[in-house]
Symmetry: none
Subunit: 198 residues, 4 copies
DNA sequence: TATGAATGAGAATTCATTCAT
DNA sequence: TATGAATGAATTCTCATTCAT
């Protein structure tokens, strides 16, 4: 077998394991997930996982890291500098909803506030959250300077937006809500921009 | 010892255990919490816990249930029928923030999206959440009928409000945010009612 | 139960485990010994061992340490300062042979040059051996100064004595040799003092 | 490739593996040695070892057997019938010391009293030791008959000699002792022949 | 023939739960 | 009733060995 092909195989099996791990971590959570179940799900032997990952924690960290990266990439608003804040927020809601609808398992892994909290992971998680907040604050302050939005406490707005996102994955994953993404994104944005006052 | 006194003692020891359990579950999470640590924290023997609770899961369920009850009671808006929706929402934010500030351990137990989704607990959790949403929807619809707020999707507003609440406990518990409860509650309500449009 | 009695029980169970461990380590060696077998041998459950010892290594270290202490104490020549070197050496041989005859299992643990060689244990082992050599050298040099023995290389004599000891446990434990302790001790001493020249 | 050449290759690879195995068993001991490390050390694939040896145990047995053969051959006193016992013993000490100095790895394998006493290996080990003792006894008895040495217990002398040998490899391998082989061999022989009496 | 990816039996260890006191 | 010593099921991880290529 060519070296190229070998590496593809190696990579492919890694992916196979990661995919299985996402599913198992997603339905069981970290502590209830069994390495044996992941192996079974991947259709491989228990020991094989350890050829690709050092430990259960390592595997989980990679699953979590990748899931979050995929999620954050799916939001992709940084490059859309030409858009108005209103449009940006609408887009964030829209892509969030679509991501949750299309990736129920990844979603569960990303948003399931896991206990594991290995110190390293905790720090990483914290940093990621802070970064997201910083980014949002920045965008908000610019829009405020530009007069697009009135003078408000940016932190309060951050809470409203990230809060709505955080509230919006479980109903989707549990299939309680399966409405139209465009509409809901629009309605949320509308509330935030226009207020609800009668 | 009188039967009355005995029962008081019995009750008191139950409380003792529950208090210790809140602290331990709060700082460790369900899976990392050790029955021995709870017993130690309560100043009793490990075996004694089993005189009062069937299992670790049972104990956790009661801790979680009670914590949520205390939290929901602290919100206490049902009886305040005379208030406007605006005032009600402001009050919910205010009491939420105060509760989190004053009961960091309970808060962590209530909001820590635990993995241990034992089927029964999951169902109970689900029901509790639904009930909260129904209540909110009802209040919103009434306000809409009364013309206090304009015609919007009540579900979207529910998401915005519960989302903001869900986003607002971690910064408090982690002591990242320790600002003025009144101000933040006001600002959040203001955003929701007036919108942010410039 | 009185606190006194409790501690006795606790101590007694520790001893029970240590005894069982000596037997198992003695017949299997460190790596082939199974914690389960030790538990079985002690007539207790697997988990109980861990109530008294942190790990297999810890248990082994204590078994080894105690066995060696018992052995070295059985040699007990330090306090016999009045004796001549010849008598001391004869006594060392004699007590060594008797110890091996009477404590076959301890003997195997003490002399089985185990692989384990955890760094800490290695250092400890090394130190113990050095100490023994130093002690011997000292005694030898004194006897040389006193003219009891002629001028020889003390290190060479140390090798001859410790060597004979080291060669003399296996035949005893394997029951190849079961002769008279007094005679053999005398003969060995005789060879060392008088030489074998015709 | 000619059949002859093939067999040479086959033999060469066997040797390659055995050499690597000596080094690894020497520095790790049997249980801590990893087949993978041996393969790596030999510069071949893990699976290849199994083309030449049935199992780890088999490989170790061959390593041990060969190492011992090399050691015993290095002593080579059988053919030296013309020599006096004194000279023979001196020669044994001398060649032992030199062997240990020059073959630290082999030495460790030969003398490291391994735990892995697989029954077959144990029996073989036992037989080898007995044979050595028989040979020594024979030589001793002849010398006694010839009047070269006085009437002593041959077993006791065997213990003294093999004991000194057994005590003399570790200090060399650990590089604690790195003196002159000739001198030490002479001194040991001197003690055994002349005794130490003042 | 050589390989190394895959395997799974097996070992140490943990900890909720039991139960004799 | 309260206790904590004892327990063993369950879990992670290792590594000799196999076998498809």
């Amino acid at each position: 077998m060519s070296r190229m092909r070998e590496m593809d195989d190696k990579k492919a099996k890694r992916e196979l394991i990661l995919d299985a791990a996402v599913r198992v971590f997603s339905r069981r959570g970290y502590h209830e997930a069994r390495m044996e179940e992941i192996a079974l799900e991947a259709g491989i032997g228990k020991g094989t996982i350890y050829e690709y990952f050092d430990s259960k924690l390592t595997l989980f960290q990679e699953v979590l890291g990748r899931s979050r990266d995929i999620y954050y990439n799916s939001l992709a608003i940084e490059n859309e500098n030409s858009l108005s804040l209103r449009e940006k927020i609408r887009l964030v809601f829209l892509s969030h909803i679509r991501f949750c609808q299309e990736n129920k398992e990844l979603t569960r892994v990303v948003f399931w506030d896991t206990e594991i909290m290995d110190e390293e992971l905790k720090a990483w998680s914290y940093e990621k959250r802070k970064e997201k907040e910083r980014m949002l604050s920045e965008v908000i302050e610019k829009a405020m300077e530009a007069g697009e939005i009135r003078g408000i406490n940016p932190y309060a707005l951050t809470l409203v937006i990230t809060g709505a996102l955080g509230a919006l994955w479980l109903p989707i994953v549990l299939e309680e809500w399966s409405g139209d993404a465009e509409s809901l994104a629009g309605e949320l944005t509308d509330i935030i921009f226009e207020g609800i006052k009668g």
